[in-house]
Each structure stands twice: as C-alpha cells, then as structure tokens.
Subunit: 346 residues, 2 copies
C-alpha cells in the first residue's frame, strides 16, 4: 500500500504532518511507500531534524502551496505545481494508492474531481465523515464539499454512504436518513422531500427523514444532507465537544479544591475513555466517495496523531474496493430520479 | 404579572406541566395569576391530585388539543377551541401578559401570528433560543419557526436578536454573525451572502459570517440562520449533549470499578456544575420575537423544572419591553434591503 501525503496544508505546518507520517509508518507495517509532497528544500531539513529516516519515505517536490483563502477553482488552474495537485497526480499515475491532505477542502475536491474523474454515473463526489455517537459511529454525507445540492446528488450520497458504511463496519443494512427539521413527511425543503421519497423507493434501509436529535444517540447510520448543513453540523458538534472537554478539564483540575483533583484522578480511566471516544482526530480521515481513486481529507488542525490514524484508515478504505459496487448500485437505481418528478411545495 | 400556560402540549402530559406551574409559582412571588389552559374535566382532578391549591391558579377551559402531527395551518383554522389558541387568546384580550406552550411549534407560531399580529415593520416573527457556551450563552435566531427564509427575514432576525441579547444580558454590542459553512465572504448561499452584506451596513456589531465552530466557544452572541438549519443545530447539539451526559454517567458509575465511583463522588461538584451549565432545561424558554404580545415556546419534553424556569423567564422577557425598540430599529434600517439588491451567484 502506497500513500501520497500532502504535508503542506495543515494549520500546524509541515513538521507536525511529517511527525504524523512517522507515527503512521511505525504503526502500520503494510505501508510500503509514503510520498511526502511539498517544496523539497523545505521538507529535506525537516525530515533530518525529526529523524524520519524510514526508507519507505520519499519526497516529491511541489513548488507551490495552496492556502485556505485560495479560491478552489482558480487555484487548481493557476497553481498547477501545488502540493495537493502533485499528490493527486501520484494517484492518477498509479504511483500511489491513496492521497491524504489536510489543506483547502474545496481545492482537494475540485482538483481530484478534475484529475481523477468521477466514477461512471456519479453526479458529484461527496465527502463522507465518520462521527462518534453514544455507543458507536455514524456517517455524515456530505461533510462540506457540495454546499448546494440537487435531490439527485443527495440521492446518490445516500446510496454511496450506505455502501461505505456496510463495507467499512460490516453493518448489513445501514439506517439511512435525510436530515430535516422534523421527522414528518411535510417537513424540510423541496430538495429533502424529493430525496427522501426517492431513497424510500430503493432497497436501502431508509424510512425518509432523520433529525438532529437522532445523530449522536445511535439512531442512524448514514445521515444525508447538503454540504452547507453538513459543515455546520460537523463544526458545531466539534465546538460543543471542545467546550465540554474544556469545562471538564477546568472543573476537575481546580487546584484549590483538591478532592476534585483526587476525584478526577480516580475517575481518569472513565474520562479518558470518553475523551478518546469523542476525539474527532480518531475519526478524522474522510474519504471523497465517487471518484476514480482514493482521496482522504483530514482536518486542517490535524495533529501528528490524527495523520497517523488517517494513514491507517486510508489503507482500510483502499481495501474496501468500493468503486465497482458504487457504479453498480447507482446504475441499479438510476431510473428513480428520471421517472419521478421532484416534489414542489403545494 | 399574569401568565397563560397551555398545559396540554407536553410529551409528559398535563400532570407534569401542572407540577411545573406549582414549581414556578413557589419560586416567583411576582406572579399574580396563572391561567392553566386545557379541558377542565381533565385538569380539575389533576390539580386536586397534585394539591395545587394556590389561589393564583385559574383553569381556562379548552375542549381540543393539538398534537405534533397536526398541520399548523389547518389546526389553527379547524381546532378553534384548542388549548394553545385559548391560551393565546388570553394574551390578546389582555387577561394575561404572556403565554407559555410546549406544544406544536408551528401551530403556536402560526396561531400567535394570526391572533396577536406582528409588530409594525416585522416581516416574520422568529423563535429566539438561548444556548449555553463554554463560559456564557448565545442566541440562535431562528430556532425553527421559519424553515425557509428570505434575506430580509434573516436581516430582521439579526436586528431583533441583537436587541434581545442586549436587553436580556446587558451586553452593550452583541456580536452578530450569519451562520455559514466558512468565514470567507464567498461561502454560503445567496441568502446568507446577502444577509451578511446587509447586516454589515447597520451599526450592529456584525462582521458577516460565523461558523459552527464559533457557536459553543464564546465567539458569538447572536447566530442568524433559517429555521431549517436552526432546528438541526438545536437538536443535534441537544443529542450530542445527551450522549456525553449518558457516557459520563455510564463511565463513572461503573460499579465493578469502585475507584471510579469514588472518583465520581469526589468530582461530583464539578460534574454537576457542568451538567447544570449544559442543561437545556435551564435555557428552555424561547420567545417569539416580533409579535404584539409575549409568546414563549418550551420544549415538548419539558419537565416541571423546565416549566418552572420558563415561567420566571417569561416574567423577565415581558419586563424587557422590547416592542418599541424592535419597531424603531427595524424602521431605522428598513432602507438597506430596498436599496441594495440581493447578491446572486456569480
């Protein structure tokens, strides 16, 4: 298994991500090659400094770096020698099996769509994010790649999301729901109503809508929404999770109340289990589903640990070999949107 | 201060809400009258059973009850003798200063808009929900009343939300943000871009967008969004909060690991402080801003404690006397939407 890692896009700089490559390689002997992509003159001394001498590591030079402020459409045309485009290129050439990037999501999405192309029948690729729930995990599609979606895109996200969760976790019939502001059929928008009606006509395990209340309480496996809503759900839950973690930390490490400190120490196992369960880094690697090639987005704030996990996940995701089943299942249900006109508001 | 409480809409039934009236009355001597609205033959024996004999309580008979499945538009026309409509009527007549209901949000919103009317200049009333953040609180407008919004509605929600937070919490210049999938100007939808541009032209403390990541980390005071997104943010954060609470409970009450139990006991003060801070019931009373009269929505699952809090909040909100400032500020900025055409996608 060979990976291409764009080490230039992270908020913590390339050194942190190179440390992550070190973590990932140490944890996974099945990785045979990791291309680290970025300006060679910058990366070479960093590799030496952190003593990353693993022979599986190879620098691939890229002279340019995209920032979060680059417009994706313009960036992929004008900055052709960017680290993210070079990393994608390695997958296109067949030199790498998957690419991992923590950079500009829009550019990664646009660049990989243009360079790798979509699988047959796919209208839009989607970013599929795993999130923790009380006793398990659930999938958010789209996690932010497509802010505005037609019902047909959303319909396909549901199908691809279900296939992914089935393959990844072995759930026989993942519960699929279209995220709405209530469970009743009349709720939502024209797009959500149409999507829910279409998905109910497939053999997916879909009863129509799911609600915000279902997400973290093990009531759904695949939550379908556009990338505008998906981004907001993702980031607001991340901020709430962080607020609670910070509050726990402050309340339990109150040094002038030593019994709490003792309590925290005794309860430590439980608290760290929760912290670990709710840690977004563990779930950080989100694949773009629907492309000719494996592309994994990780968080801009990804730490070395997060990249280490993501490298392992990338290998898992490549091994799922989802492409054939995505093409087959999309073709199987492709007549539903054409035979059934979208719902419009009465 | 006189309140009308629709005791028929809650998931736990009227007895729980009558218990809540008891809690609220015991805690607040400034309440001079509480009308409990619902079928008299059902309420009278319940009052006796729970020994709610406070002379400030008066039953107002309503023969019908709306359910969550009633279509709001149809319900308010056909079920004229419903508890929620009778409760609103008491405010319209001037017999009560505010109405509290835990029933069908759509019916409460539609019914109070029709019966009380909107304040001058208000395009749509909005439901304003207070939520906890790491060290404080923030306001979500709209919390679910208006699933589809024009930029003009959203613009007015920002102005009304800012006035509410200023009056309620004494924040001189509340930070107002339009919720989007990123902070850059080009992000979002046509509606969010237009709204952000308009709000920046007022003297509100608004820099344009806020993101999901800002919400629970004290980075925003007023978050403006449509009710579709607002409902999802509200319910998903509630479900995440509950998942974390349940996990804490399970991890720390692991009886075969007694040291964790001891730890939990020692850390209890800290944990309950967090539980209290994050308890949605404390923030449960959400006013409909923009109406000729004070209407407070509480959660369908509201317990007696939640209603008790909401009764106290209702009194606070009535005392803010926001109507004049809402009418004045909306008039002051009313030319912005008419002079500045909505942004359309380039």
């Amino acid at each position: 298994m060979r990976l291409a890692v764009d080490v230039m896009g992270g908020d913590h700089g390339p050194e942190e991500l190179l440390q992550g490559v070190k973590v990932g390689l140490a944890a996974d002997a099945a990785l045979t090659k990791v291309f680290v992509v970025g300006p060679e003159a910058e990366l070479r001394p960093l590799l030496e400094r952190i003593q990353l001498t693993d022979p599986r590591v190879e620098i691939r030079h890229a002279s340019e770096v995209l920032t979060m402020h680059d417009d994706p459409g313009i960036a992929i045309r004008r900055k052709k020698d960017s680290s993210v485009m070079r990393a994608i290129e390695l997958v296109r050439e067949g030199a790498a099996d998957a690419v991992i990037s923590s950079g500009n999501t829009g550019a990664l999405y646009a660049g990989s769509t243009v360079r790798l192309g979509r699988l047959e029948g796919v209208k839009r690729a989607t970013i599929a994010c795993i999130l923790p729930s009380k006793n398990g995990v659930w999938l958010l599609v789209d996690g932010g790649a497509n802010p505005e979606c037609t019902p047909e895109y959303l319909f396909q996200f549901g199908i691809m999301g279900s296939l992914y969760m089935k393959a990844l976790l072995g759930i026989e019939r993942p519960r699929v729901g279209v995220l709405s502001n209530g469970s009743e059929e009349g709720k939502g928008t024209d797009a959500t109503r149409t999507t829910a009606r279409w998905l109910k006509q497939t053999d997916l395990n879909c009863n129509g809508y799911c609600e915000g209340y279902d997400l973290f309480l093990d009531r759904i496996d695949v939550c379908v929404c556009d990338g505008f809503v998906g981004n907001i759900v993702l980031k607001s839950s991340e901020s709430l999770g962080r607020a609670v973690r910070d509050m726990l930390h402050e309340e339990l490490k109150t040094y002038h109340k030593p019994w709490r400190l003792l309590g925290a120490a005794l309860a430590k196992g439980g608290l760290s289990r929760i912290r670990e369960r709710m840690n977004p880094e563990v779930y950080g690697g989100a694949p773009l589903l629907g492309l000719n090639g494996c592309v994994i987005k990780i968080h801009g704030r990804a730490s070395r640990t997060a990249l280490g996990y993501a490298m392992h996940q990338a290998r898992q995701i490549v091994n799922l070999q989802l492409s054939d089943s995505i093409v087959r299942e999309l073709a199987r249900w492709s007549t539903i949107p054409t035979m059934d006109a979208p719902v419009t508001t009465e």
